[in-house]
């Protein structure tokens, strides 16, 4: 199995600022996925991050708003830039390691 940790677990931020979320996996994985779960909603894929290449973004998500880093096979960061209240969500990191594993999520509130 794969154990995923995320930092921070939650944060409250001011409009216009940026927050970087970290995702650490205890195993080396090729692809890491970032999802957003808005209040009362399902999970929506933001982007897929491969080590050594640029992330692939889903429709409706752009790199300027959600820059992603993937410096090695066990770590990734997602930055939520120039935040607005509409960005208030839970952000989850996920990996496929024999089966799909999800991190505990980062609960972001933007005031």
């Amino acid at each position: 199995s794969a154990v995923i940790s995320q930092k921070p677990s939650r944060d409250i931020c001011q409009r216009g600022t940026s927050l970087t979320i970290q995702c650490q996996v205890d195993s080396q994985v090729t692809m890491m996925f970032w999802y957003r779960q808005q209040p009362g909603q399902s999970l929506t894929l933001i982007a897929t991050a491969n080590q050594g290449s640029e992330a692939t973004y889903e429709s409706g998500f752009v790199i300027d708003k959600f820059p992603i880093s993937r410096p090695n096979l066990t770590f990734s960061t997602l930055t939520v830039s120039n935040m607005s209240p509409e960005d208030s969500s839970i952000y989850l990191c996920s990996v496929n390691y024999n089966e799909q594993f999800f991190g505990p999520g980062t609960r972001l509130t933007v005031l």
């Binding site: 996925f33 909603q41 399902s42 999970l43 894929l45 839970i90 996920s94 089966e99 999800f102 505990p104």
Partner: protein, 114 residues
């Protein structure tokens, strides 16, 4: 893109009874996987059961079983002998065989009544 539909936003079941959660999906692919995930208030996504599309036999995991109807693109989850700990949000999900990203349904909130 693939779509996953859960038509029951909320369901409730008496403890020890059986409940079935519905899920339908739309795809043109022939090789894929289907999943049911459980998300309790802790937010942690927990895999309940998975089904490979090429398998005709329905997957079972203890009290959890699925009714997979490939032609109808239907994938329902049956929970038998419901327990209080089963209360959670349940998400149906689809993944292509050759890709890693998931497509999730909108979820069904399950309440277990003591």
């Amino acid at each position: 893109a693939q779509t996953v539909t859960q038509s029951q936003p909320e369901m409730s079941v008496q403890e020890a009874e059986t409940v079935t959660l519905s899920c339908t999906y739309d795809t043109s692919e022939s090789d894929y996987y289907l999943f049911w995930y459980k998300q309790p208030p802790s937010r942690q996504m927990i895999l309940v059961i998975r089904q490979e599309a090429y398998k005709q036999q329905n997957a079972t995991e203890n009290r959890f079983s699925v009714n997979f109807q490939k032609a109808a693109k239907s994938f329902s989850l049956k929970i038998s002998d419901s327990q209080l700990g089963d209360a959670a949000m349940y998400f149906c999900a689809y993944r292509s065989a050759g890709k890693g990203q998931f497509y999730f349904g909108t979820g069904t909130s399950l309440t277990v009544i003591p």
